[in-house]
Amino acid sequence: MPGMALQLRDLVFRYAGERFALKVPRLDLAAGEHIAITGPSGCGKTTLLRLASGILIPESGTVQAAETILSSLPEAARRRFRLLHIGLVFQTFELVPYLNVRDNILLPFRVSPDLRLSGTVRDRAVALAKETGIAHLLDQSPAEISQGERQRIALCRALITDPALILADEPTGSLDPQNQQRAVALLHEQARQAGATLIMVTHEPSLLGGFDRHLPLPDLQVA
């Protein structure tokens, strides 16, 4: 699937009962563009990704992915859109504890009414696991493996559906420097192969090299 342009306009979001509000007046990503978002802890990087993916709905403003105004879709449609078009790498991995590594990677195909789990998909899961160095762990439970290996499972799960938009929330936070480079290279490679748009939140300056743009979130908010 070709990459997906993303446009955020006059975005305002506030968690219930909190005074702090995330405000992003304007953010435009071209289809296939790779950008890195940085910023201090608590400045709203994760919230921004959750708004961009339709997990959260802004108080005001719009999130538009390609031709779809995601922020105005009903919940069911946003979920469907997310499963089909967006690959998410969560900061806390969000792995299902009773599934082994293989089933966690294939999870989108188990819960989606639209995606079909085929032999090709299974082969792709194995290939992704090989590329991220966790092929030998496919039959193990997430509880039995390290943080870094769990992070790589989350990475594989985000890529398994060949998404048009990849949103990665600090996907290298638990990895050693060598594996950080390897994981980010894989993200770039997979995204470029599919022409996908990539937004990655990171604290690590050494990983910013491969991105088309680097956007510090505080700058976005005052823009």
Partner: protein
């Protein structure tokens, strides 16, 4: 909706919670099965027992518990009832043209009741032989289908009666009976009984016996001799099997009219005779009582049903408590799964899929429990059906 995926994820979740799921299924199965089993079981037993009792018009017995009498004469499982003299049954037959079938069901052979009766019994119960013939002479017996199957015996084999008390050396000697036939299966208590002539049970009881001729005994064995009566000591050889050669030596001591019966089935020729007989031998008066087995069993089941209703009501309350506790377990389980369900929602799983995943555990436990309870109830019915 991706039901294949939901089933897979649901199953994987249950596989990780095996112990808890098994406990929940066991609790719910018991909550369903126990009231069901008691209701169905009591009804099945009632149908089974009532059918035999209502097909027996009147039952004559010595004063005592009518229920014990019915169990002795119809189901052969209450041997120690008071006995009535044989003459009473003869009188009824003679005076009222009723068919009177003697029953003497006190002894056992290898765990099966020996029922002393007459050939009328087989006609009355519409029993026929599957192999061999009915008993032809003293010492013969025919086996119920179940007895023959369990013991692996058939016509021409021998069956020895069990002594009442193994260590009572002055007690009844065992009698080795010749099996002449095996009855067709009836699905009743008759399948588990050994039938012989009532006189054969009197031999087992020790009232009748056969032995070497007293005249041939050595003088040392003769304790006393007065005319035809010769008293011999215990060195005399008593026959333990009745054969064509020694049958002539078998004889009974005492007055045959006083010989014991545990019961007699009375089949009056008409309603008037039945009413007269019931008046003459009404319970609470005289030396023999007549009762209607159907009415006796109905009284028993009225009591059983009252108890059953109470027990079932108590079990339903306990079951409701168990189901409530299970509801609590499911609720707690879902709370523990909150993170996982949140992850699925974040990933984009449809809300209905998440709801189905939540419901899967409860649905699986409920379905498995209901199926198990039904299977167990069917097994119980099969088991009850196989009990004669």
């Amino acid at each position: 909706m991706n039901f294949g995926g939901i089933l897979y994820l649901g199953w994987r979740h249950l596989s990780r919670q095996r112990g808890r799921v098994i406990l929940l299924i066991a609790a719910m199965t018991l909550s369903l099965f126990l009231p069901l089993a008691i209701t169905v079981g009591v009804n099945a037993v009632e149908r089974h027992l009532r059918a035999r009792s209502v097909s027996t018009p009147l039952l004559l017995g010595a004063p005592g518990s009518p229920l014990e009498l019915v169990f002795n004469a119809l189901y052969f499982n209450k041997p120690s009832v008071p006995v009535l003299p044989f003459v009473t049954s003869r009188e009824i037959a003679k005076e009222t043209r009723s068919t009177v079938i003697p029953i003497h069901a006190r002894f056992q052979a290898r765990g099966y009741r020996i029922v002393g009766t007459s050939l009328d019994y087989f006609r009355f119960r519409r029993m026929t032989v599957a192999r061999g013939t009915l008993m032809g002479r003293l010492g013969d017996c025919v086996l119920g289908a179940g007895v023959a199957k369990q013991l692996g015996l058939g016509p021409g084999d021998r069956l020895v009666s069990t002594p009442e008390q193994l260590f009572d050396i002055a007690g009844v000697y065992p009698l080795r009976m010749r099996i002449t036939g095996v009855l067709r299966p009836m699905g009743t208590a008759d399948d588990q009984a050994v039938f012989c002539d009532v006189k054969t049970t009197w031999v087992i009881e020790g009232i009748g016996h056969g032995h070497d001729e007293a005249k041939r005994q050595a003088a040392a064995a003769v304790l006393e001799s007065k005319g035809q009566n010769v008293a011999l000591d215990s060195s005399i050889y008593e026959f333990q099997e009745i054969t064509p050669e020694n049958i002539g030596s078998f004889h009974f001591h005492g007055d045959q009219s006083e010989f014991p019966l545990t019961a007699a089935i009375v089949i009056p020729p008409d309603a008037k005779t039945e009413t007269i007989l019931l008046g003459r031998y009404r319970a609470g008066s005289g030396q023999a009582w007549l009762n209607r087995p159907g009415a006796t069993m109905a009284e028993l089941f009225d009591t059983v049903f009252r108890i059953r209703d109470f027990v079932v009501a108590a079990l339903v309350v306990v079951g409701a408590c168990a189901v409530s506790i299970m509801g609590l377990v499911f609720a707690l389980s879902n709370r523990l799964r909150a993170d996982e369900l949140h992850y699925l929602a974040n990933l984009g799983a449809p809300a209905a899929t998440v709801r189905w995943l939540i419901a899967f555990e409860a649905a699986f436990v409920t379905t498995a429990s209901v199926l198990l309870a039904v299977v167990l109830t069917l097994l119980l019915l099969f088991f009850l059906g196989s009990i004669p």
